[in-house]
Amino acid sequence: MSVLTTRARSVESKHTQVAIYSMGGEISSEQAVRGAIQMHSKRVWRFGLALSGASDVADDLLQSTCLRALERHHQVTSHDRLDSWLMTICRSIWLNEVRARSVRKAQALSVTPEADLIAPGNDSETNIFATEVFTQVMQLPEAQRETVMLVFVEGYSYREAAALLEVPIGTIMSRLSNARQKLKTVMQHEAADAVRRSGK
């Protein structure tokens, strides 16, 4: 965190300069980036969780991603799909700056999936199921986990996910197939439970 925060501070002064020039004009790229950050912060955080498997790292990744995005707002030429741009930045920070450190930490602590992120609901059976699905997804290998998050949760198409993760579409599809194999058990339990609950 300290490394990332220091970098964040250095962005600040430069950034304020840029903002002054954009006052009173049309929607500036900076305003668009700020809007996108506000709109997509949850998705970026989730993606950070999928990459790192830890919510504190997801917090740091989101923060660094947003600062980096603001720093680079002049690179934005189209205000469309700023979400995938944020995701790409998040992933690149993860791969280049955070991953090695976090993986070492995870091995040392043998981090378990953060199932307490599943909010307690009223129906305990639904809740148990949600926790199982959550745990299964978080136990997938990182490549499958990031793909599942982008396609299943965030609704990116296979080709969008392929572009974002810089792999062929076939790789996206086979990662999803492998993930489905692992998620199948918990899904079948749920189907069986649903039948039982319906009284048949």
Binding site: R43, S55, L117, A119, R180, M187
Partner: protein
């Protein structure tokens, strides 16, 4: 080559052999319509999506550098520019929020509403004792609890201006608005969230360009909203968190 829904379903369930899998995967590569069909049939996606869409429960906090130089009270052209910029920011935000993927929480909505307030909004409000009596009676009836009016009137550096009944998703939301020493609007909001709503510690964040602090206790949500993103809420926060502690 055409694939039936049954074949695509068998693919998704992992029941096809290698050759069939390859045939589908290479067909998808060239055919976005087939990709869409396959994605729509996937029984896993909605289940995983339903589990993760509420993670994290609250919008995560991000600390961003200031968007513009602090507004100087010098007046004139700079001030107009600042207003224009603020309007532009609201317009941009509104555009993004209109296409937002997730519903906003009450605190975000309250901040958006409050961000439209300017000193003139509150300058001419009738805050005679009689008017406030009626407003507080109505607000407390809706809310089902006292608003500790004496305490609010004693809020350091603030002049009580109005209590207004609003609503968020059918829940009563009371906005109590104040003027600070410079006549800038300042708000304290209370929403009835219902029994069983989780207690939350004080969280400070900039929402819609305004400094805010939110917390929740015993089925009620509370929120302080400053007049800009740099408003220091700590004095009021200590005061209110204590007086609304039970």
């Amino acid at each position: 080559m055409k694939f039936s829904d049954e074949t695509l379903m068998a693919y998704l369930e992992g029941k096809l052999d290698e050759a069939e899998i390859r045939a589908i995967e290479s067909a998808v590569e060239a055919d976005p319509a087939l990709e869409q069909r396959l994605m729509a049939l996937d029984p896993f996606a909605p289940v995983v999506q339903a589990v993760f869409e509420h993670v994290p429960a609250e919008a995560p906090q991000v600390d961003l550098p200031q968007p513009m130089a602090p507004a100087t009270p010098a007046g004139g052209g700079l001030r107009l520019l600042a207003v224009a910029a603020a309007v532009a920011v609201v317009a941009v935000s509104a555009t993004f929020w209109a296409t937002r993927p997730e519903p906003l929480g009450w605190a975000q909505q309250a901040a958006i509403y409050q961000s439209l307030y300017v000193p003139d909004t509150i300058a001419s409000l009738d805050n005679s004792a009689q008017t406030l009596d009626a407003q507080f009676a109505q607000a407390e009836a809706q809310l089902g609890r006292s608003l500790n009016r004496e305490e609010l009137e004693a809020l350091p550096g603030m002049e009580l201006k109005r209590a207004q009944v609003l609503s968020f998703k059918g829940k009563p939301l009371i906005q109590v608005v104040f003027a600070d020493a410079q006549g800038q609007p300042f708000a304290f909001c209370v929403i009835r969230q219902g029994e069983g709503a989780p207690n939350k510690d004080v969280t400070q964040a900039v929402l819609s360009g305004l400094a805010t602090a939110t917390w929740a206790q015993d089925g009620y949500g509370y929120m302080l909203i400053g007049s800009d993103e740099q408003t220091d809420l700590s004095g009021q926060l200590d005061f209110l968190a204590t007086s609304f502690a039970s």
